[in-house]
């Protein structure tokens, strides 16, 4: 029996499928992964430092650029923290509008995640383009709402920047009709294709205990059968007035993670429909007398988290009574979900490396900030 020698390969930061500029030092024994060491920091822009030099509203633009495929959710998380810090009472219409926007963003984010799974599996772009096409319609809606497609900065302390235009509502109805079909299509691609099933089922299994211990949250945790969704367990905004189902899967493998994402996006459609039913005319944000443009929250600290598309997305803000946060920390779910990367990958084959990595659904903008 000839002895084999492990070989260490550097994958990234320039690599077609590391979802950005991620770098891994991987040791292989043949095709089998022996060791993985992630290397971060290629997209580090110092958002937290920059936030200390900006007013509370200006920091919003930095949050857009963190996780750039779910910027509405970042906005929402940050604005909730600011509202809690400055004791701002939001306007109901503004809250409903931002819930609609963030659920649309969740659908878009899950579409991207699912499309990239099939891309990482080796399909040459077709499923990715199918899901990206659907995402375009959602981005068109954002363009109607705030004029931007990716870096929205739509939310403001107490509500949203401005009311939705008239043509937004019929367009939203059309998208809500289309999206379930797109997910039917994607789900058929995912669960009716023998190759995808045989490659994702039973690969990179994590136990629920180890995931909770490693602070992994979001669809990854729910794919392990842990019923932990902040929208349900700790409802923020008006999620306590909404009925929705939390999809769970208990096999905790790559297939389960993407199955959960698809089902969750379907639930988002239902949530948006309920929001449309409950929204009523009114101001979308408090007047500037109530909530001034230049917020000066009382000294103190606050941690507020929402259920982002990738997991618990939290902001820890410290105020010293000034116009800029004294400290702004982001609990980046993408970064923390990577904690068990090594455990996920060791023992798997090279072909599954990027599939498992992609099933975490991370975004380098959020990992490195």
């Amino acid at each position: 029996m000839p002895s084999t020698q492990p070989v260490t390969v550097n994958l990234g930061p320039q690599h077609p499928s590391t979802h950005g500029v991620f770098r891994m030092r991987v040791t292989f024994d043949g095709e089998e992964i022996v060791d993985v060491e992630p290397v971060f920091g290629y997209l580090h822009r110092g958002s937290e430092k920059l936030a200390e030099e900006r007013t509370y509203t200006q920091v919003l633009t930095l949050t857009d650029r963190m996780d750039y495929v779910s910027s509405m959710l970042n906005n929402q998380s940050y604005i909730l923290a600011v509202e809690k810090l400055a004791n701002v009472e939001p306007s109901p219409r503004g809250v409903w509008l931002r819930m609609i926007a963030s659920e649309l963003q969740r659908i878009a984010s899950h579409l991207v995640a699912t499309g990239f799974l099939i891309q990482d599996l080796g399909a040459l772009g077709t499923p990715l383009i199918y899901s990206m096409r659907q995402r375009e319609y959602i981005l068109d809606l954002f363009e109607m709402l705030c004029g931007a497609r990716i870096t929205n900065s739509y939310l403001r302390p107490g509500g949203v920047y401005m009311d939705a235009p008239e043509e937004f509502w019929p367009a939203l109805d059309k998208v809500l009709l289309d999206v379930p079909h797109a997910f039917d299509e994607l789900e058929e691609l995912l669960s009716a294709n023998e190759i995808i099933k045989s490659r994702t089922i039973g690969v990179s299994i994590l136990s629920p205990e180890s995931m909770v211990n490693a602070s992994i949250t979001g669809p990854m945790l729910r794919a392990g059968g842990v019923d932990w969704d902040l929208r349900h367990r700790n409802p923020y905004d008006f999620y306590d007035q909404i009925n929705f189902h939390r999809p769970l899967h208990n096999s905790s493998d790559n297939f389960a993670r993407f199955w959960v994402r698809i089902q969750e996006a379907r639930e988002s459609v239902k949530i948006i429909r309920q929001c449309i039913d409950k929204i009523e005319p009114g101001p979308v944000r408090p007047s500037f007398d109530e909530v001034p443009r230049l917020l000066r929250p009382p000294p103190g600290d606050v941690y507020s988290a929402i259920e982002g598309s990738k997991g618990e997305l939290g902001f820890y803000l410290v105020s010293d009574g000034g116009i800029a946060p004294y400290r702004c920390h982001v609990r980046a779910s993408s970064l923390i979900n990577l904690t068990l990367l090594r455990e996920m990958l060791i023992g798997e084959l090279f072909n599954d490396l990027f599939v498992s990595f992609g099933s975490i659904d991370l975004n380098m903008g959020e990992v490195d900030r």
Partner: protein
């Protein structure tokens, strides 16, 4: 709705189990001595009445006189959360703290991030290397006395 532990109650209970670990409490937060941190975290995770199995976030703040490390923890089974704080590095002299990676694995990257950006050393961390910046980067950017490039241009002319 996730229940928020009262800081006073949690502080008293912790002080009963580990006498002398408590520094002060407030409505939401519990300040504990930094030497007792690891024991307190073990108690919070293991004891039946706490069962804090999820570490939401670790972060640190530079308050000029000292550094404060903040632990946001949640118990999934009780759906309750609490905030534990500890002060380290009085006088800005080599702040260090014991690592909680052995208690909550999720602390791994977050402690490395704090070491990278605020320079708080986590003793017995398995792999305490800088996370975002490279080895040999001068200073710790999130400290308040860190001079950025822009500031350095202005201050040099004085």
């Amino acid at each position: 709705m996730t229940d928020q532990w009262k800081g006073i109650v949690l502080g008293k209970m912790l002080n009963q189990i580990l006498p002398g670990c408590l520094v002060s409490t407030n409505k939401y937060d519990v300040w504990i001595k930094n030497e007792n941190l690891l024991e307190v975290c073990n108690v919070l995770r293991e004891k039946e009445e706490f069962k804090f199995d999820l570490l939401n976030s670790i972060t640190a703040v530079d308050y000029i006189d000292y550094f404060e490390v903040i632990y946001h923890i949640t118990s999934l089974s009780k759906n309750a959360s609490a905030v534990i704080k500890t002060k380290v590095g009085f006088g800005r002299k080599d702040p260090s703290l014991s690592s909680v990676v052995g208690v909550w694995r999720g602390a791994d990257y977050q402690e490395r991030e704090i070491w990278d950006l605020l320079g708080i050393k986590f003793l017995s961390h398995p792999n305490l290397k800088r996370l975002f910046l490279w080895e040999g980067y001068p200073g710790y950017p999130l400290r308040k006395d860190y001079i950025t490039y822009d500031q350095s241009i202005v201050t040099d002319n004085k």
